[in-house]
Symmetry: C2
Subunit: 193 residues, 2 copies
C-alpha cells in the first residue's frame, strides 16, 4: 500500500543508485551486473528481472538524470545567476569528493561504445545541460551581475566544457577544479569573494 516501502520500487531504486555510483566512477562499460548484485546481496538474474538488458539499465539511468536535472533547474529558477553558478560549483565539488566525474563527461567519452538508445538519451541530456549553462550566463549578463566578451552561447559552452574537463583532470591534479572555478568567476567579472 505505502508506495515508499514497495519492494519493487525499493530494489529497482537500489539498483539504479548502485549503477549510478559505478558508472560515474568506472564508466558504463567497466561495471557488470555482478558488481551490482554482489553489493546488493541478490543474484545476477534479479537485476535482469528489473532491467532485462544492460542497455535498459543505462537508458533508465540517463532518463532519471534528465528528470532530476529538470527538477533541479526548475527548483532554482528564482535564484540569481551568480548563486546558481555557485550551486553548480558545489555540485562539481560533490562529484570530486566522491571520486566521480559528471555524467556528461563519462557518457561523451564512452559514446562510441554505447548502444544507440543510450546515445540518443545522452544527446538530449547534454543538450539540456548546455542550454542551461548558456541561460545562466545570459541572464547574468542581462541582470548586470556578469560581464564578459563574446556571446552567452560561447561563454556558457566554455563554462560547461571547462567544468567537465576539470572534473576529469582533478583526478590527476587536485588543484585543477579549484583553479578552473576561480578562473570562471574572474572571466565572468564576478567578485572573487
Amino acid at each position: 500500500m505505502k508506495p515508499e516501502t514497495d519492494a519493487r520500487t525499493d530494489t529497482r531504486k537500489k539498483i539504479l543508485d548502485l549503477a549510478e555510483v559505478l558508472m560515474l566512477s568506472r564508466g558504463f562499460n567497466a561495471f557488470s551486473y555482478q558488481h551490482i548484485s554482489g553489493e546488493l546481496g541478490v543474484r545476477n538474474a534479479a537485476i535482469h528481472y528489473h532491467f532485462p538488458k544492460k542497455t535498459d539499465l543505462g537508458v533508465a539511468l540517463i532518463e532519471r538524470y534528465r528528470r532530476r536535472f529538470a527538477r533541479y533547474v526548475e527548483a532554482q529558477a528564482e535564484l540569481s545567476p551568480p548563486v546558481q553558478l555557485d550551486r553548480y560549483f558545489s555540485l562539481a565539488d560533490t562529484y570530486y569528493n566522491k571520486q566521480q566525474i559528471c555524467p556528461s563527461g563519462i557518457l561523451s567519452a564512452e559514446l562510441h561504445t554505447l548502444p544507440p538508445e543510450m546515445r540518443q538519451s545522452t544527446a538530449s541530456f547534454v543538450e539540456e545541460m548546455r542550454t542551461w549553462a548558456v541561460d545562466i550566463v545570459r541572464r547574468g549578463q542581462v541582470a548586470g551581475a556578469m560581464h564578459y566578451v563574446g556571446t552567452p552561447e560561447g561563454m556558457g559552452t566554455i563554462v560547461f566544457a571547462a567544468m567537465q574537463g576539470s572534473l576529469q583532470l582533478a583526478r590527476l591534479d587536485s588543484t585543477a577544479l579549484d583553479e578552473v572555478k576561480q578562473q570562471i568567476r574572474l572571466l565572468l567579472g564576478m567578485a572573487q569573494a
Copy 2:
C-alpha cells in the same frame, strides 16, 4: 640492417598505431587484442609477443605520447604563443574529424579502471600538457599578445580543461568545439581574424 624496415619495429609500430586509434575512439577498456590482431592479419598471440600484458601496451602508448609531445613542444618553441595556440586548435580539429578525443580526456575519464602503471604515466603526461598550456598563455601575456584577467595558471588550466571537454561534447553537438575555440580567442584578447 635498415631500422625503418625492421620487422620487429614494423609490427610493433603497427600495433601501437592501431591501439592508439582504438583507444582514442573507444577507450582503453573497450578494445581487445582481437581488434588489433584481426585488423593486422596476425594471430592474437603475436600481439602478446610484443606486449605480454595489455598493461604493457597501455604504458607504451602513453610513453610514446609523452615523447611525441615533448618533441612537438620543442619543435614549436620558437613560434609565437598565438601561433602555438592555433596549432593546438588544429590538433583538436584533427581529433574531431577522426571521431576521436584527446588522450588525456579518455585516460582521465577511465582512470579508476586503469592499472596503476598506466595511472602513473597518465599523471605525468597530463601534468606536462597542463604546464605547456600555462606556458603558452604566460608567454603570450609577457609578449603583450594575450590579455586576460587572473593568473597564467588559471587561464592555461581553463584552456586545457575546456579543450578536453569540448572535444568530448563535440561528439554530441558539432558546434561545441568551434564555439569554445572562438571563445578562448576572445578571452585571451586575441583578434578573431
